[in-house]
């Protein structure tokens, strides 16, 4: 394994006593691991060719979407290869869940995809309802759909702002955050929390709709569509934005299916796979909405697709409000939840893709195994395929267009 830096070996002064020179090579940080390569891929990546150098986009960086470390192999400004290093936000949620009651886990799963926390809870309670053989009241299902679609809009607004910020525009972030702020306040009135909601329960939701939520929702809905059009108009017709994102990070259909991508990233390549239509859950069969699909597979298509999804979500919210049935918001469940021994798998369509929970129960009140399948994990895998040939500046743009959330990636 060769390193790229063959210059003079500098020694560093000790912080405690400046007269002492430590035997550390100062200033020549190379992001190569301090052991010989253990796998084929490591050997392939960590050997430098002619004129190549490593650049470490470390866990502290103004632009990675959370704590993520990417080691880039550059040839000048062109990226030859890249290796993401994960684990900086790993909290051991799966292990903690094995020692927690079923009630507590809903709160544990919120900070995974913290941007859109309700979807994490939804998959979990769906899996639990399969093991408990519970029927969820219809009003609860409609409330779940309503709050989740609101959160989908909020998450996509965040994506729009972040994508523009990574390309250099300062204004769209703040305009999108106006939408997000209002939605988050709404959901705070409904669930009690602004970001980590802890709202869904086995058999329903925690509380019914209240007056404050409905009034905020009503006033927001009346201007939501025009706001969305204004925000997207700022970027869609901007020549610089379009020229930078068109043709960037193109994923074709076969690659997307092989890399197990889901969600808007897959639909932008032409595959109309949406869990809400492919494997319907909750009351989505009764609701009328389209699945936007685009075929170019580049960053611009992913961006425009998410904007289309915002419009479809507005339609769904409208229908939910009109069709909301009366009734209880939670089924009767015992205080101590002991599902039957067995396995259950439940998947929902989160704003990032297919979010799934695989739960194994052994009859006690703590799950035996809780497997969390997060879409951002697989999208990050694809960055390594999309980057080679592009420039350093595009690394962040491509990552932003895939919309990863590190909380979910690192669990």
């Amino acid at each position: 394994m060769t390193t790229s830096h063959e210059g003079p070996r500098l020694r560093q002064q000790s912080q405690d006593d400046p007269r002492v020179m430590l035997d550390i090579d100062a200033g020549a940080f190379e992001p190569v691991p301090p052991y010989p390569p253990r796998t084929e891929r490591e050997a392939e990546f960590y050997t430098l060719g002619d004129g190549e150098m490593f650049l470490n986009m470390g866990p502290q960086h103004p632009s990675t979407h959370g704590v993520l470390r990417i080691v880039l192999k550059l040839n000048g400004e062109q990226v030859v290869d890249l290796d993401p290093v994960l684990g900086y936000l790993h909290r051991g949620v799966e292990k903690i869940s094995e020692n927690s009651d079923y009630h507590h886990i809903v709160n544990q799963l919120d900070p995974l995809e913290y941007v859109s926390a309700l979807f994490n809870e939804w998959a979990y309670v769906m899996a639990g309802e399969k093991l408990l053989d519970l029927q969820v009241p219809r009003r609860a299902e409609y409330i779940r759909v309503l709050s989740s679609e609101l959160l989908r809009i909020s998450s996509h607004c965040l994506f729009m702002g972040w994508f523009a910020l990574d390309l250099g525009g300062l204004t769209p972030v703040l305009w999108s955050f106006i939408e997000r702020d209002e939605i988050v306040e709404m959901l705070g009135a409904l669930t009690g929390a602004r970001m980590l909601f802890n709202y869904f329960r086995f058999g329903g939701v925690n509380g019914d709709l209240n007056h404050e939520f409905m009034s905020r929702l009503g006033s927001w809905m009346s201007r939501a569509a025009s706001h969305v059009e204004a925000n997207t108009g700022l970027l869609n017709e901007n020549e610089i934005f379009v020229r930078r994102s068109r043709g960037l990070g193109v994923v074709d259909r076969e690659t997307a299916l092989r890399m197990c991508m889901t969600g808007p990233n897959l639909r932008a390549t032409g595959v109309p796979f949406d869990v809400r239509r492919a494997h319907p859950y909750s009351v989505y069969p009764e609701l009328d909405f389209d699945i936007p699909t685009r075929s170019e597979g580049d960053s611009l298509a992913r961006y425009l697709l998410r904007v289309d999804e915002i419009r479809q979500s507005l339609r769904i919210i409208d229908q939910c409000l009109h069709q909301m049935p009366d009734g209880p918001v939670m089924a009767k469940i015992p205080r101590k939840i002991t599902p039957r021994p067995g396995r259950a798998y439940a998947a929902v369509e989160s704003p990032r893709g297919q979010y799934a929970i695989y739960m194994m129960s052994d009859g006690t009140d703590q799950p035996f195994r809780l497997r969390i399948h997060d879409p951002s994990f697989l999208h990050l895998q694809s960055v390594g395929l999309l980057m080679p040939g592009n420039l350093v500046a595009d690394t962040m743009a491509v990552m932003a267009s895939l919309d990863p959330v590190m909380g979910g990636v690192d669990k």
Partner: protein, 183 residues
């Protein structure tokens, strides 16, 4: 619950299945031995009557007696999720052939199963740890993982009370690990 799927699976893979095809709600589950995994999945992927082109999830499970690798697949031809369980891996040296030749996206999921359980996927080009640091010596999600043991070997060992090596006060002698009850 797709009965037709069950019949097709039994017809096609009858000899390889190590247990009955179970169905509950919208999930169908088959169990195979670890060596049969690549063939089974390839057949499920390529065969026009199955067309399970979509790998939804890959994870490891430690049942306390054996290790398992669980694959979830989705196809347009059926309304069910298909769960393929590679059963019967030993807890001392679990090995399964890798399916990265079919789905490249399984590479990181297999890395995670290796990191958390120690399951070696033969044929995975990049089987190194993904969440834990590269010099970590334990496999966290195993049922016999004991944090104090592991922390005792870390550079900060002995600094805090919970990092000293000792058995939990209430643990029975010959510490029992949790075992799954199969339905």
């Amino acid at each position: 619950m797709d009965r037709a799927l069950r019949r097709r699976l039994e017809a096609r893979f009858g000899d390889r299945l190590t247990g009955p095809v179970r169905q509950r709600h919208d999930e169908t589950e088959i169990r195979v031995g670890p060596g049969d995994v690549p063939d089974t999945l390839r057949t499920l992927h390529d065969d026009p009557s199955f067309r399970f082109e979509f790998l939804s999830d890959l994870c490891g499970v430690d049942t306390g007696l054996v290790m398992q690798v669980v694959y979830h697949l989705w196809s347009e031809t059926t309304t069910d999720w298909l769960r393929v369980i590679a059963d019967g891996l030993s807890r001392d040296d679990p090995r399964v052939p890798s399916i990265t030749s079919l789905w490249k996206g399984a590479e990181w999921m297999e890395r995670e199963a290796y990191d958390m359980f120690g399951i070696t996927f033969e044929g995975n080009r990049d089987l190194r740890r993904i969440y834990m640091p590269p010099d970590y010596t334990s496999f966290p999600l195993r049922k016999d993982f004991f944090l104090a043991d592991d922390a005792a070997r870390s550079p900060g060992a002995g600094v805090r009370h919970q990092e000293q090596t000792h058995t939990p006060r209430n643990a029975p002698p010959g510490r029992a690990i949790r075992v799954a009850k199969e339905a």
